[in-house]
Symmetry: C2
Subunit: 360 residues, 2 copies
């Protein structure tokens, strides 16, 4: 086997030791005579796996006791629906920052459920820049302010969040666990697992108790957060394997030093790749102004589309995959989530240098 | 490793060759230099996995072209919500057969969404028996009739479905692929995967085109079937690993002879266990009348609760787990889904004989 540096935007690379450990114990989980995926979710071994994953998330993100951590199906997309259904009461409206594809989708669902107000729309800057958070005029009566901490397609990331008494609800799928968050600003944080936390198939929702009180009991069971929270997300059969892998990924993150280490590594990776662009700035262009640049999804353009195609093809031959930009915007994109080794970013930076020299 | 006969009601035993194959290819999927769970869901290798799983389900259940197969998150419980939200228009009502825990939950969600009518409630028989389907008085104007083909807790199973022009929507989670179904009676069939189809984390929904036309575009994206069907359940990142395992399990089912073989094996397993009860009928009692007995979840009582406890403990020592009845009803239960080897049912039948002899 020759392991590839996988720059896919998600599902994406996971830590090799995590993958290897899961493979090794897959057929017979800890001498129980069966696989972890064959076990009742009410069994002791799975119960331990489930609660350990939950506890590690709280511990690593330093989540206070007045928040509940939940594991839910349907990805972050399902949260786009559940959030307004639970937290946007009739007669109140919510504020949105529409910063890219993910913000747009979250907004579209909220607009189907209740009253909304867009306080920032990145349309005029092609979703390639973000405003100063202090410039956002949040309605003090808003039910919540929705934000997307990082947009994977535009390659932009909020570095700070606005000061407001309105609870912020934030989609942190694409930079989950890559930095400390000022938790108490947030009524809710949520993330699909398949970028920074594990494989696809589970979303993590972290909800503050005062928001939980809003959940209307007119909602069908699965769609109500208050169905899941008191049962530790065991009201119905949870997505066992994705949660098990999230737990292992969190354990690995803890072993390398937790979120502070993740931030440091993210800065190293981003520094290498943005640095390579700067070194050959006549050849590579980053369409995002420096202040808004994501250190999770790094987008760049080459002089021509033809060169971009060759860049992507030759990178693959050199053991680097997933560098094609999203089909809606073209260009190149390197997604460098928590599990991407710095060596991967180094290899890409070196390759960028060589490619520019040969083709510049 | 000593593999156990795992009689858990779900998640449950899966075919050993399927588990072993997944373990063997987990670290490097088919020389792609990464695990299947690290791959973009838009990549060619995953796309093949996804569509093969979908095609195998259609092929094995002989689903006509005017039905769509979907993979969704949130389990069958999430379907309890989506079904009335999509298929129960204002001004129409739907009919329900409330046959046990699962029927009750499906009903409770529909009642939150719209008008409902219960045409059978098993309360008076403690959810341990079913009526003749021809006795059901279906409202000819009902939006649909909801049924649960097999109740895992009561251990009861519909052997036939009523003749009606009203589309039947049926939860087949616990006997999926164990028998041929008269598909054209059904507007929709759905199943959580974690009993007969694979691991937890994905539900399979099979919906007829004329029902798809009812999906209201006022629903948030994830909750609308018409978001998923035209995109082959790739609107958002699907639960990759659960779908991959469903595909492998379906391939295994095809290799052993498909649904007809599954029916034959189910009859063999059920025959062995119900036969063991009959042989020691002074010791074992099945609370379910013969005509309604499930061949997936086989419930039985021993003379005392103390003997039941010993039975379950000694069975575990003899390599058979998961025989405790559901906490809400007590007693014993052997869940024998498609992946349970006949040898497992034989071992249990033998053990039942020995235990009755020693303790009878």
């Amino acid at each position: 086997m020759s392991r590839i540096f996988n720059f896919s935007a998600g599902p994406c690379t996971l830590p090799l030791p995590v993958i290897e450990e899961a493979a090794a114990e897959f057929v017979d989980y800890k001498d129980n005579g069966m696989s972890i995926i064959e076990m009742s979710h009410r069994s002791k071994p799975y119960d331990e796996v489930h609660h350990e994953a939950m506890t590690l998330i709280s511990e690593l993100l330093e989540i206070p006791d007045n928040y509940k951590v939940m594991f839910l199906g349907g990805g972050a997309t399902m949260q786009f629906a559940m959030i307004p259904m639970n937290f946007l009461p009739a007669g109140q409206s919510c504020d949105f920052t529409v910063t890219g594809t993910w913000g747009k989708k979250a907004y579209a669902d909220a607009a189907k459920v209740g009253d909304t107000r867009v306080i920032f729309d990145g349309k005029d800057v092609n979703y390639l820049d973000l405003p100063d958070p202090s410039s956002l005029e949040v309605d003090p009566n808003a039910a919540y302010l929705h934000m997307t901490s990082n947009e994977t397609i535009g390659g932009i990331q909020w570095k700070k969040f606005p000061d407001t008494d309105v609870p912020i609800i934030c989609d942190i799928s694409s930079d989950f666990m890559s930095r400390k968050m000022p938790i108490d600003k947030f009524g809710m944080l949520y993330a699909g697992a398949q970028k920074n936390a594990g494989p696809a198939g589970v979303a993590i929702a972290i909800v503050r108790d005062d928001l939980m009180e809003r959940c209307p009991d007119t909602l069908p069971a699965y769609l109500n957060y208050s169905t899941h929270a008191p049962k530790d997300s065991m009201y119905n059969t949870p997505p066992v394997f994705p949660i098990y892998m999230v737990g292992k990924t969190m354990k690995w993150l803890k072993s390398i030093g937790g979120v502070d280490a993740a931030t440091d590594l993210a800065n190293q990776r981003a520094g290498l790749i943005y640095g390579a662009m700067e070194k050959d700035s006549g050849f590579y262009k980053c369409p995002v102004p420096e202040a808004a640049r994501s250190n999770m999804n790094i987008v760049f353009r080459l002089p021509t589309e033809d060169l971009e195609k060759r860049f992507i093809a030759e990178a693959l031959e050199a053991g680097m995959s997933g560098l094609k930009g999203h089909r809606s915007v073209g260009g190149c994109r390197a997604s460098v989530y928590n599990s991407m080794p710095v060596a991967g970013a180094q290899a890409l930076a070196d390759f960028m240098g060589d490619f520019a020299t040969k083709n510049g």
